[in-house]
């Protein structure tokens, strides 16, 4: 039985990187005594896959992992959620557990987009009028950036992958919200968008710690290539 787990990552847990979060969940699943299925072979491992790796320093309200459980399963979704929450540390909350159909794609392959909120840490706000300039930046026809990978540097247009970009004011705090491509082929990191935005406005350097980024949710696409219909990854599952 395929199960999708949605969790939040906040507080000091933002310093735990993706590989260590995977290890954390492997151990948590054992502590919670979830009857997870194992692969065959001499060193069996838990059948588990994560939707989209989250970089160190980022918070999230919408992280997903899929697991396969042995059947018959003697717990329902609420019980599994409670069992997992019982063994979590401060900074990781399980917010939803649901069942996927057998033919559902795995978490990673299903990812199409992600929504992020970006705030500037105190003392790191850019000098230009970033609130005023945001829509102009987004309204450009193309947003070319140089993307550096380990092997090469290549030019890339961010524009087609930014589905939304706007200024948000909540409780007197201004933030930038964006919905961007998060698929394995076209993943756009919010930091890259912000760098391009700052560069466009004459600010070359954006310090590593300048941005506090929260991934609000991770989405799959129910639409077509031309007309997207992004829905949270747990919308593909059902209660059990």
């Amino acid at each position: 039985m395929k199960i999708r787990i949605k969790f939040r990552k906040y507080g000091s847990m933002k310093f735990i990187g993706h590989l260590d979060i995977m290890r954390y969940f492997q151990k948590a699943i054992r502590r919670a005594e979830i009857p997870i299925a194992y692969s065959e072979g001499f060193s069996p491992h838990q059948i588990m896959s994560f939707a989209a790796p989250l970089g160190v320093g980022l918070l999230s309200n919408g992280e997903y992992l899929d697991i396969v459980c042995r059947e018959p399963l003697h717990m329902n979704a609420e019980e599994m959620k409670a069992a997992l929450n019982h063994v979590m540390v401060e900074g990781i909350d399980i917010v939803n557990v649901c069942a996927l159909s057998e033919d559902a794609g795995n978490a990673m392959a299903s990812v199409a987009a992600a929504r992020y909120t970006v705030v500037f840490r105190k003392g790191y706000e850019p000098e230009f009028d970033w609130k005023g300039q945001l829509s102009e930046f987004y309204n450009q026809l193309t947003i070319p950036v140089i993307k550096q990978t380990k092997k090469s540097t290549k030019e890339l247009d961010l524009k087609p992958g930014i589905y939304e970009l706007f200024l948000k004011e909540t409780d007197g705090q201004s933030s930038i919200e964006m919905l961007v491509d998060a698929s394995s082929a076209g993943n756009i990191k919010p930091g890259l968008v912000m760098e391009a935005f700052c560069k466009e406005n004459g600010q070359e350097e954006l310090q590593k710690a300048a941005l506090l980024i929260t991934r609000e949710d991770t989405y799959g696409d129910r639409g077509t290539e031309d007309i997207h219909q992004f829905v949270p990854l747990d919308a593909f599952g059902e209660a059990f």
């Binding site: 847990m13 151990k27 054992r30 194992y38 060193s43």
Partner: protein, 622 residues
Amino acid sequence: MRKLALQDEILLQVDKPARYIGNEVNSVMKRVEDVKVRFCMCFPDVYEIGMSHLGIQILYDMLNQWEDVWCERVYSPWTDLDAIMRKEGIPLFALESQDPVKNFDFLGITIQYEMCYTNILQILDLSGIPLKAAERGEEDPIVIGGGPCTYNPEPIAEFFDLFYIGEGETQYRTLLDLYEKHKELGTSRREFLLEAGKLSGIYAPGFYEATYHEDGTIASFGPTEDGLPTTIRKEIVMDVSDACYPLKPVVPFIKVTQDRVVLEIQRGCIRGCRFCQAGQLYRPVRERNVEVLKRYAVEMLKNTGHEEISLSSLSSSDYSALEELVSFLIEECKERTVNISLPSLRIDAFSLDVMSKVQDVKKSSLTFAPEAGSQRMRNVINKGLTEEVILRGAEEAFRGGWNKVKLYFMLGLPGETEEDIRGIAELSNKIAAVYYETVPKEKRNGRCQIVASTSFFIPKPFTPFQWASQNTKQEFLDKAYLTKQSVLAQLNQKSIKYNWHEADASVLEGVLARGDRRLSEVLLRVYKKGCIFDAWGEYFNNEAWLAAFEECGLDIAFYTTRERSLDEIFPWDFLDCGVTKEFLKREWLKSKEETVSPNCRMQCQGCGANRFGGGVCYENKN
């Protein structure tokens, strides 16, 4: 939510920020208002090493079970954060509360190896605690040391207020009660330390003084205050089955060296290898009841979620219920899809059978520790492993499908000859030959791989070799070269890989191991020259150490190469680990005659540890 001591900007700059945030599964949070004593437990090395240490997990668990105590942890900040903290003036903090270490009542430091001594100074310095105990004020934490290196605490005596000699489970309650009483009465730090120094197993170095002969050896050593003991006997837990054990050990987020459940099956060792300090310090052997261990294994796996369990002891093969325990674990672990790792097993039919069940034979390697290349030398060191046993074990293993063998040796053992050294290569060659004789060509999975490693022998306190001369750096290197040449001269040399250790650090480890109080000054100077993480090759700065010795007018050879006379007073003679100096002397003389001593189960050698009234000394005697 907890507020971190370090700002995001810093944590995002440093390598592995998870080292500094605490919050791990099973870490203990309490409210400061609810406790009387705040204890910060330190392993003075990087987090991944410190978190792998069982002793701290035991004490952390024990102290936190007491309602009036909150025990937290701190490790050495890695060099990247160290630099930032110095530059920004950020005080060192404990992982749980993230509060400055300086605010604690106690700073407990476990001292597991000599090359961490400068890291002790790093911890004190970053905490803002005066390095020298004599300069500390009423508000500073009581700095207490424990662990194997405290069996010669003298080189670091000036940096500690107290040392706890022996096993931590027995005396902390009494010590903390005394502390609480003094805190209530508002008595001075000095008065507390003086009273603490009268407790069994507690050494208050500030109240002891050494005088020296002209030749640099110790003339006298003893307390300067009335009521303090002249000899301090180690603390020991006689009923280890009943002792506290951390059933909910802290589970780190990042991968640490010992990323598994650790089941300590026994303490002590019956073997009495003459180079081995642990084999003498932890006498007598005390076994943990097998039923207790089974229960612990299940609970700990459940409480941690670890995917591996490992047995810990000095010589697991000597544990009397090993077969029963291992069969249980194999069943239990199969059900839970947990791996078993079995270190330090003697290679025989039983262990090979067990290993073939729990590891992938093709990938894993077998380990033998002959320690010396010739039978003569193995008799000298009392390593009761014969060539015949090694070759037979290897043959059985090769039949079982293994083709990788690791061999551990020492160079620089007392009385070592070139023939003994060549024996290392010859033994490696014989093992390779056994492979080619045993496994027919069509069944071979390539060549067999023999990896022979040598470390340099360093005489340690409380061993029969505490009188012995340590080799010089040049002798060490010449011997490693001779070993290398001998390996290359072997018929099967292509199947043998030879590794050797660094020599400079071994020389200094030797100095610190058998050093005296005068070395405190060297340590201070070397620390002020910027040395930390000396146990890490990339940070070890030999020149700085040599310069510090020069400045202090101390001679390295006095501590290392000098063979001690039988009546010399050693810096650690005032400590009593159970084993008598007379016994060690007998063993030293026997080693010179190349005579072996039977192990504790075969025949009691009268080492003195039977005075503790239990363990292997009283087996089958009820």
